[in-house]
């Protein structure tokens, strides 16, 4: 099944299991079913609880906040991750504030999901990976879906807890087969299967790897394929660590890997500078100071806008060859 459908089915399952779940977003109703078709079919099955909205990202998110304050479990779809900017105030000054500033009397478990990412020639305002601006917001979980994880498990865990969450998806993953076919790769998941697992992937046992790579979402999928190819073709062995929750981050799996490999590379599609990898580098260089044989490498896209022209976009965004180059330099 393709990733978009797996996501949609996970949402359908949540709607069925949990009457508190309400989904809202622009153009999400049938027959259209959302700009990327994730919600296709849902409004037909759950007309009351799956609502197409006006074009009002802030208003929808603020309304979701009120629903959440009242015990519902709103899931907001923001059509393009680029428009999360319009929800920023609701997330920073409302949703994540109510529980803490009421000293725990209120809960406001809004889930916002949105597609990030380029690679489709959509240009500067429809291709961004803006998650870096949402990392480290107190009381917000940021999660990255991909074909390496089970979204149903993730949503169910969120529904069991009371935290606000931003779930980022990726346009290039929607049409991709899910789960990812990892061939002969070794895949390790934490025992006890937390809803937000950190998946570890390598071609050989971790102890034989010479580099740890931390990545999430679509980038992690790209890296996973490289892990395979470099192992088969060139006997370069690296371990890929893929957190589901990217902020706050569980440092332990990365630390464990780095303590064996002695080197770390982070890769992300967002622009460089105060990015996801920056905090990873800051923390891991601190906790693994003596284990690291080289500085942590942070690979991200150029600090610029994403051009519409495909050849310019390709040049600007982190791609396979950039990652491959970075691995060769570090492994």
């Amino acid at each position: 099944m393709i990733h978009a459908r797996v996501l949609g089915d996970a949402l359908r399952e949540c709607l069925s299991e949990d009457p508190r779940v309400v989904i809202m977003g622009e153009d999400i109703a049938d027959p259209y079913g959302g700009a990327f078709k994730v919600t296709k079919g849902l409004s037909t099955e759950f007309p009351d609880r799956v609502r197409t909205t006006p074009i009002s990202e802030a208003g929808i998110t603020g309304t979701a906040a009120g629903l959440a304050l009242s015990g519902y479990r709103p899931v907001v779809e923001v059509m393009f991750g680029d428009f999360l900017t319009l929800t920023f105030d609701q997330i920073v000054n409302h949703i994540t504030k109510y529980p803490s500033m009421s000293a725990g009397q209120a809960t406001c478990p809004v889930i916002v999901r949105t597609p990030m990412g380029g690679g489709r020639g959509y240009g500067p305002t429809h291709s961004q990976s803006l998650e870096k601006y949402f990392l480290g917001i107190p009381h917000l979980r940021v999660l990255a879906a991909s074909t390496l994880q089970d979204p149903l498990e993730m949503f169910r865990t969120l529904l069991d807890e009371d935290d606000a969450a931003l779930v980022i998806e990726h346009k290039l993953l929607y049409p991709r087969q899910h789960p990812e076919d990892l061939g002969a790769l070794i895949v390790r998941r934490p025992i006890g299967e937390s809803g937000f697992p950190t998946v570890r992937i390598s071609a050989v046992p971790a102890g034989d790897c010479s580099l740890t790579i931390a990545a999430y979402g679509h980038t992690a999928v790209m890296v996973a394929q490289l892990v395979d190819r470099l192992a088969v073709e060139e006997e370069i062995f690296v371990e890929l660590v893929v957190p589901t929750q990217i902020s706050p981050l569980d440092w332990q799996p990365i630390e464990e890997s780095v303590s064996t490999t002695g080197a770390l590379l982070t890769v992300e599609e967002g622009t460089r500078g105060w990015s996801w990898g920056s905090e990873v580098a800051a923390r891991i260089h601190h906790s693994c100071f003596s284990a690291l044989r080289a500085p942590v490498e942070v690979l991200a896209s150029a600090s610029d806008i994403i051009p519409s022209a495909r050849q310019l976009e390709d040049r600007m965004l982190v791609g396979v060859s950039d990652i491959e180059g970075a691995i060769r330099r570090s492994a």
Partner: protein
């Protein structure tokens, strides 16, 4: 034991049993005015407005004394709005308020102790001292000092009632200045479209911080609501009876139905926050002539008024004394 302010009536306690609110009630009962069953509606309204007034004046005194810090926004002059609207609400209704929320909170909960403790930053404050003056939260009541977004939040609460097939309503108090925020209109559109049981009460006091309305508002407040399909009622009054009459109708009309707006033209008699009033003195002085207590007091007999005033003063004084002692 004396009680400061009331919103309670038999119905409240009946419903409260089945409701989260019971905690809040229990926790704050001490300073909650039940009044004697013999107390008239006018007496109760006077008690509530007088309670809010004296509570806030006390706050300002404590600030001057240095016992409070941070900031605070009093609603002196606007008490009739809080009292006249909120008396119609049920425990399962919800009130969303803004920076100027003490009156709304007291009219809603009667919890003078929790509020004073909160503003003093005490652990026994309604939000453990974390929220402070503009960020109150208790079942059935929320406030946030960030303008505009609260209207959307309140719409979500209305939507929750609608989804639950309840006839509870969501009431949001918003100032005229906050109508500058775009999210207000996003919400009007959404609430109109989905016919959410949302009552927007706009306290139109003609000023936003230091800015007179002529410098920040174009067109007409009433027309704005109407343009999004809201029925609008508008009234210029500081008379709690007038507010209560019209609010009663509006609350009833919103129940189980779609959104409405009630615009109350009123006036803030105090500073915007603590020490920042640049309005013409004559303008303010003229408005003191119509302040809600003096407008209403004639309807309460002299002895009843004295009794109420004494009870309220005493309750507040006891509270202040207690907290002062704790602090020393």
């Amino acid at each position: 034991m004396t009680y400061l302010v009331t919103i309670s009536d038999a119905e409240l306690f009946e419903l409260a049993g089945a409701d989260l609110r019971v905690d809040a009630l229990a926790r704050t009962a001490e300073l909650r005015l039940l009044g004697s069953p013999a107390e008239t509606v006018d007496e109760r309204r006077y008690r509530q407005m007088f309670g809010i007034r004296r509570f806030e004046q006390t706050l300002l005194d404590l600030f001057d004394e240095g016992l409070l810090s941070g900031t605070t926004h009093c609603c002196i002059g606007q008490e009739a709005d809080a009292v006249g609207v909120i008396e119609h609400l049920r425990p399962d209704d919800h009130v969303f308020s803004n920076h100027r929320c003490h009156g709304h909170y007291l009219a809603r909960t009667g919890d003078a102790r929790g509020l004073l403790a909160e503003i003093m930053g005490r652990a026994d404050g309604v939000c453990a001292g974390v929220g402070g003056s503009q960020h109150l939260s208790t079942p059935g009541f929320t406030s946030n000092g960030v303008l505009g977004g609260t209207v959307a939040n309140a719409a979500g609460i209305a939507m929750a009632a609608q989804l639950a097939h309840s006839d509870a309503i969501s009431v949001v108090f918003v100032g005229d200045g906050a109508l500058g925020e775009g999210i207000v209109y996003e919400t009007l559109n959404l609430a109109g479209l989905w016919q959410l049981p949302l009552l927007v009460v706009c306290e139109n006091n003609g000023w936003a911080q230091s800015t007179p309305q002529r410098d920040n508002l174009s067109g007409s407040i009433e027309d704005r609501f109407q343009a999004f399909g809201f029925p609008v009622r508008s009234v210029a009054t500081t008379d709690v009876r007038v507010v209560a009459d019209i609010a009663g109708q509006e609350v009833a009309a919103t129940r189980g139905a779609g959104p409405r707006a009630l615009v109350i033209e009123t006036y803030r008699l105090c500073h915007h926050s603590k020490n920042d009033d640049n309005r013409p003195e004559e303008e303010v002085a003229a408005r003191w002539e119509q302040e809600p207590l003096s407008v209403h007091e004639g309807r309460v007999g002299g002895p009843a008024r004295s009794r109420i005033e004494q009870e309220v003063e005493l309750a507040i004084a006891e509270l202040v004394t207690e907290f002062r002692e704790d602090g020393s």
